[in-house]
Symmetry: C2
Subunit: 107 residues, 2 copies
DNA sequence: ACGATCGATAACCCTACAGCTATAGATCAA
DNA sequence: TTGATCTATAGCTGTAGGGTTATCGATCGT
């Protein structure tokens, strides 16, 4: 309903940030240090990216002593999936008309 | 294959630009003037957004006299859908791995 | 032919933000 | 306790990019 993919798009638009998220999806829980080692940017930069990802609901953190484990949140991408589906739905709805169908074949 | 959601994310991150694309998906082909009327920004701004959308393969243009009709390109969102699927796949794969691990520990 | 309209481009401004270094706060190891 | 390690925050800088107005080229109506 109140699917606002805005934050998701904006958050995932940055390549470094998206790479961090992808890594968390692929390899599961990671500490900030581990993520920093693979990110190619400084540790403060990684921390800031993680803050943005957390704010967008894409990751969550699990503090354990002085280390903090971050992990991707399943279901966080649902608004994005819904949005793409909606766009495709619009397209297919218009495709039902013969006129649009012919127009599509014309290209 | 179409493994570059980067341009899509960056292009769709801007709310104004995404609104233009959504309108094209919803209502089909539109002239720049029509889009400008609903965009809330100046005509040059709309033209620039359309240029970015076109560059990303999200829209195409059909010149007709001095007017240019823009329309959303179906299938342009496929890399985005693939990416989300891949992320979900990673998640589920790790879930399966966990289940297998627990199953093995159980016996 | 001529003025009007449509869209793209140019040139500029200004804000957002990703990056950095330095440092604070917290926890661990000795 | 003390020094080392881990992460977050503060403060700063540079740049990408979205907004504007002005204008140009192209096309249409008269």
């Amino acid at each position: 309903m109140a699917d606002t993919p805005d934050a998701l798009f904006r958050t995932l638009a940055d390549p470094t940030r998206r790479a961090i998220f992808e890594r968390l999806c692929r390899d599961g829980e990671q500490t900030v240090g581990a993520l920093t080692g693979a990110a190619g940017v400084s540790q403060p930069a990684v921390s800031k990216h993680l803050g943005v990802l957390k704010q967008a609901g894409l990751v969550r953190d699990r503090p354990e002593g002085r280390r903090i484990h971050y992990s991707a949140r399943p279901g966080a991408l649902v608004p994005l999936i819904d949005w793409t589906r909606r766009m495709e739905g619009f397209w297919e709805a218009r495709l039902d008309g013969l006129e649009d169908l012919l127009k599509r074949m014309d290209q």
